[in-house]
């Protein structure tokens, strides 16, 4: 039985390039945050954060080279997180468009210490 390992060894250059890309994206996201785009600020910040996250996951976490099952598992968790947040936000944001009265106690009870 062979115990030969076929582990992928990422070239040093790839790691360093990803590191530099992450630094540059960090600086871009800080600079852009001081420019006013209104609601787009959040979208831009989240897009940049997601690019950074994809770089970390694919290269540093080796998802690009490892068994694709790991990528599937991780992606499924992110799908469930978006379902969780999106459905909760539908309820949070749209409740008063169906019944204005029902929205009020929710907001009131949500604040534990009224200051």
């Amino acid at each position: 039985m062979s115990i030969k390992a076929h582990h992928h060894i990422t070239p040093l250059k790839t790691y360093l390039s990803v590191g530099v890309a992450l630094m540059v994206l960090t600086i871009i996201t800080v600079v852009v945050s001081f420019v006013h785009f209104g609601a787009f600020n959040l979208i831009i910040a989240m897009v940049i954060a997601s690019i950074k996250a994809v770089l970390v996951a694919l290269f540093f976490m080796h998802l690009l080279y490892d068994n694709k099952l790991f990528m599937a598992i991780f992606s499924i968790s992110l799908i469930f997180v978006s379902v969780f947040i999106i459905l909760t936000m539908f309820d949070t944001m749209q409740r008063d468009s169906i019944d204005e009265v029902k929205a009020k106690p929710i907001k009131k009870n949500a604040i534990i210490y009224d200051k």
Binding site: G38, F59, L69, L78, F80, V81, I85, M93
Partner: protein
């Protein structure tokens, strides 16, 4: 049957070969990591709900966070992610000495992150920018500014606990590296500690713009 010839010392008897053992260990780690993702998603939802209810208060309150320190910590954490990835690469190339140096560097960067966080926290404690009923600061306009600091302390606090847990994991694999447990054939625990550390980095990549860089 002679087991000693086919089984290297690091291979547990219930695995037929080292690659199967490695894949199983990493599968287990990934399943653990998705529970961590779901743990944090609860707090991110908490953030989303309150930010959608009090968008102006969030903007006013976030101006009391120090963007320079947040950026510094982001760079520190990204660098530490790079160093632990390089530590694994060194072990793949059988360079134990370099792995040890890179793991120690990662630990040092993690410690710097916590020290910066300590200064940020103590400043907020001093000003009374604290969650819930402990909030005594008066300089923020808007409804319920204490909610912002509940979100801030819960998210960064849980993240900070993960930084400490990550340091313990890295310290453990560092010790095992020093004790010569690993080689180019077997280094799965360093990989798994690395995966955990990268997850800590991933969470911070989202926390930083959401808390420090609101429009």
């Amino acid at each position: 049957m002679n087991h000693t010839e086919t089984h290297p010392s690091f291979l547990a008897h219930h695995f037929s070969e080292s690659e199967q053992q490695r894949e199983s260990a990493k599968l287990g780690m990934w399943i653990f990591l998705i529970t961590e993702v779901l743990l944090f998603s609860g707090l991110f939802t908490f953030y989303a709900i309150y930010r959608s209810w009090y968008p102006d208060m969030f903007i006013n309150a976030h101006q009391h966070l120090n963007v320079a320190l947040g950026t510094l910590n982001t760079i520190v954490l990204i660098t530490s992610s790079l160093t632990i990835a390089l530590a694994i690469r060194s072990m793949q190339l059988n360079n134990r000495r370099q792995t040890i140096i890179l793991l120690i560097t990662t630990l040092a960067l993690a410690a710097i992150f916590l020290v910066v966080k300590y200064f940020e926290y103590s400043h907020k404690f001093h000003l009374g920018q604290l969650p819930g009923k402990f909030y005594t600061f008066t300089g923020i306009k808007g409804t319920n500014p204490h909610v912002f600091f509940s979100v801030y302390f819960m998210l960064t606090g849980l993240h900070g606990i993960h930084v400490i847990a990550g340091m313990i994991a890295i310290g453990w694999v560092l010790r095992r590296t020093i004790n010569n447990h690993f080689s180019a054939e077997y280094y799965t625990p360093i990989e798994n500690a690395g995966l955990y550390w990268h997850l800590v980095d991933l969470v911070w990549i989202y926390l930083f713009p959401l808390l420090y860089l609101i429009g």
